[in-house]
């Protein structure tokens, strides 16, 4: 049986600005291969500038890879196949304020992907929009609201509704959970887990918070300066001995926390 998503040697290089055509290209992402099964969650971790956003953008089709192949359900997915990609792979962004159109009502924004991708009558579309809004914990009446009338958590819910309205197989969330308030973040994580259980969605989550990753991810992919240095199941990565960088990334907060308290108390006694 084929995997839901399979990446074979995906890589991305950029030509540096102000350079000769023959000069060496800078590498954003070295050849990376991984697989993702249906209903699984993959977390991509790494420092700033390690290429994790580049990888998520390539998967979501925002950027073209410089080489390598992506297979969806065993069939090759080219960069130009935007129709097939956008029906199966959807993206949720960090800032729901910026990713939602302030000029359109929530209903109109949810209608847009349906107009382009589905052949439905007006009433069917309306029904689907209302049921999707209910699925993400909003009311059908929210379809008439503009984004500025909603709270941050509700806006993030709308962004998720827009992602799942086409019944996709994969949702890519790029730092979508970090900047939220604690109570909203917990609610959104609960919602994402519920949707995964009900609809069998796979998530690809880009984050640098080890606690969130431990809670929701089945597999972890760790990048260091564009190079994949670990790809394994969460439990095995957490229990087995790893390279120092991986250890630091996964247990960072705990290690440093004890260090800080040790340091500060030592300073006071001096």
């Amino acid at each position: 049986m084929s995997h839901l998503l399979e990446a074979v040697d995906l890589f991305k290089t950029f030509r540096p600005r102000r350079s000769w055509p023959w000069s060496k290209k800078s590498v954003a992402l070295e050849p990376t291969s991984f697989t993702l099964e249906a209903g699984e969650t993959l977390a991509i971790m790494g420092e700033t500038g390690s290429g994790k956003s580049t990888l998520s953008k390539i998967i979501a089709g925002v950027e073209a890879p410089s080489g390598g192949e992506l297979y969806l359900n065993g069939q090759k997915l080219n960069y130009a196949q935007s129709k097939r990609r956008c029906q199966n792979i959807r993206m949720v962004f960090q800032d729901s304020d910026k990713s939602l159109n302030q000029q359109l009502t929530v209903g109109q924004q949810l209608e847009e992907p349906l107009l382009f991708n589905r052949e439905m009558s007006n009433s069917e579309r309306k029904q689907l929009i209302h049921s999707t809004l209910r699925k993400v914990g909003l009311l059908a009446e929210h379809a008439a609201f503009y984004p500025h009338m909603l709270s941050t958590g509700q806006k993030q819910r709308v962004a998720i509704a827009r992602a799942i309205i086409l019944d996709p197989q994969i949702v890519v969330a790029d730092e979508a959970l970090v900047a939220l308030d604690p109570s909203v973040r917990a609610q959104i994580i609960n919602l994402m887990l519920d949707l995964q259980k009900d609809m069998g969605i796979s998530y690809i989550i880009v984050t640098h918070s080890p606690q969130i990753v431990k809670h929701i991810a089945d597999k972890i992919l760790i990048l260091y300066r564009g190079k994949m240095i670990a790809f394994n199941e969460t439990e095995r990565l957490l229990t087995e001995k790893q390279q120092p960088y991986v250890q630091a990334l996964l247990h960072e907060h705990l290690i440093n926390h004890s260090q800080i308290t040790g340091n500060s108390s030592a300073k006071v006694t001096e």
Binding site: E47, T48, S151, T152, G153, Q154, V178, A179, D181, P182, S183, V184, R185, A186, Q187, I189, N190, L193, H208, S209, P210, Q211, I212, K214, H215, I216, T234, A248, E252, H253, N256, H257, Q259, I260, T261, N263, S264, K267, V268
Partner: protein
């Protein structure tokens, strides 16, 4: 005497839908050399409190307080000029996004030099010039930047997030303030940078004998060096007190929920299990609940909660709740 003594600070503004009370009788005391964390979700008025202390609020808003004292002097009774003098000399502030705060058009050295008080350097023109340069290097060393030569010459866009935040701290401590207000300095940073900045702030508070008012969203991200913590929700103070006591034995349901919702607590739960969370969303300014503003979201709320609770004290903590948790058994 407390460095900063705030009693029943209330801020009211006239919105399009009538008068709104954005801060409702908030009290806060800050001792000298103390690190105090102010925790609250967005829209809870924590930045507003900081702005009221600095004195940069919209003059059309009503600021009333039983006390807004700085070192025993009443800030509200001062003329704007007197107040600016105190703010400029004794207070400093750092912000969430250092790259938006630093001037993109001038180098790091130029920006730090500007912040060094004129009276600090004396002598001839050349002496002053050299003095200033060494002072800038010293400040950069103090915030943990080793290669000061390279950093001094660079422009903000060339710096990484963590270094930029360190530079903004260097600017803030250049005139040796008594109070540093840090407005969510580490919210959007990755864990390793976050720890560096937090460790630095804790260290500076001790070495410079400076008070720090740290504003954060998450209980998990308060400084380990914090001595006292206050929790705000929708402009009302929920609980304040000694950090260890408050975090180990929270009296207010909101504190309890914030601790359970923090990232640290997630790590101990079963993977993929439901996370604890408060139901509903933060109310908008138009629809503030009466009485205790947590009421509609609080799992322990009862009839009495439509009346705002008075402050109660227990050991090292004070809380505003009719039905406190973790009561000692009588």
């Amino acid at each position: 005497m407390d460095l900063l003594d705030i009693r029943n600070l209330t801020i009211e503004m006239d919105g399009p839908h009538g008068r709104v009370r954005v801060l409702d009788k908030v009290s806060l005391q800050l001792k000298e050399g103390e690190v105090h964390s102010l925790v609250g979700e967005s829209g809870s008025g924590k930045s507003l409190l900081a702005k009221a202390v600095i004195g940069v609020l919209n003059p059309l808003w009503d600021v009333t307080a039983d006390r807004l004292w700085w070192n025993g002097k009443d800030l509200l009774a001062m003329t704007p000029k007197q107040r600016r003098a105190i703010t400029g000399r004794d207070m400093a502030m750092i912000f969430q996004d250092p790259l938006a705060y630093l001037d993109p058009n001038s180098t790091v050295a130029e920006q730090i030099t500007e912040a060094i008080p004129a009276g600090d350097v004396t002598g001839t023109f050349m002496h002053r010039r050299i003095d200033r340069k060494t002072r800038v290097a010293q400040l950069l060393h103090r915030v943990g930047i080793r290669d000061h030569d390279a950093i001094m010459k660079s422009y903000p866009y060339e710096l990484s997030e963590g270094i930029a935040q360190k530079v903004s701290i260097a600017i803030a401590i250049a005139h040796r303030p008594k109070l540093l207000i840090a407005d969510e300095p580490t919210t959007a940073m990755e864990p390793s940078t976050k720890d560096q900045i937090q460790r630095l702030l804790g260290k500076l508070a001790v070495s410079q004998s400076m008070s720090v008012l740290l504003i954060t969203q998450d209980v998990a991200s308060i400084l380990p060096a914090t001595q006292r913590v206050s929790l705000l929700y929708c402009g009302q103070m929920m609980e304040h007190g000694d950090t260890e006591t408050v975090l180990n034995r929270p009296a207010h349901p909101y504190t309890d929920a914030m601790i359970k919702m923090s990232l640290q607590a997630h790590a101990e739960l079963e993977p993929k299990s439901k996370l604890p969370s408060l139901p509903g969303a933060v109310p908008t300014l138009r629809h503030m609940p009466i009485g205790c503003r947590l009421g509609p979201r609080c799992p322990y709320a009862q009839k009495q909660c439509v009346k705002a609770p008075l402050v109660r004290h227990r050991d090292e903590q004070s809380y505003y709740c009719h039905f406190p948790l973790n009561e000692p058994e009588a």
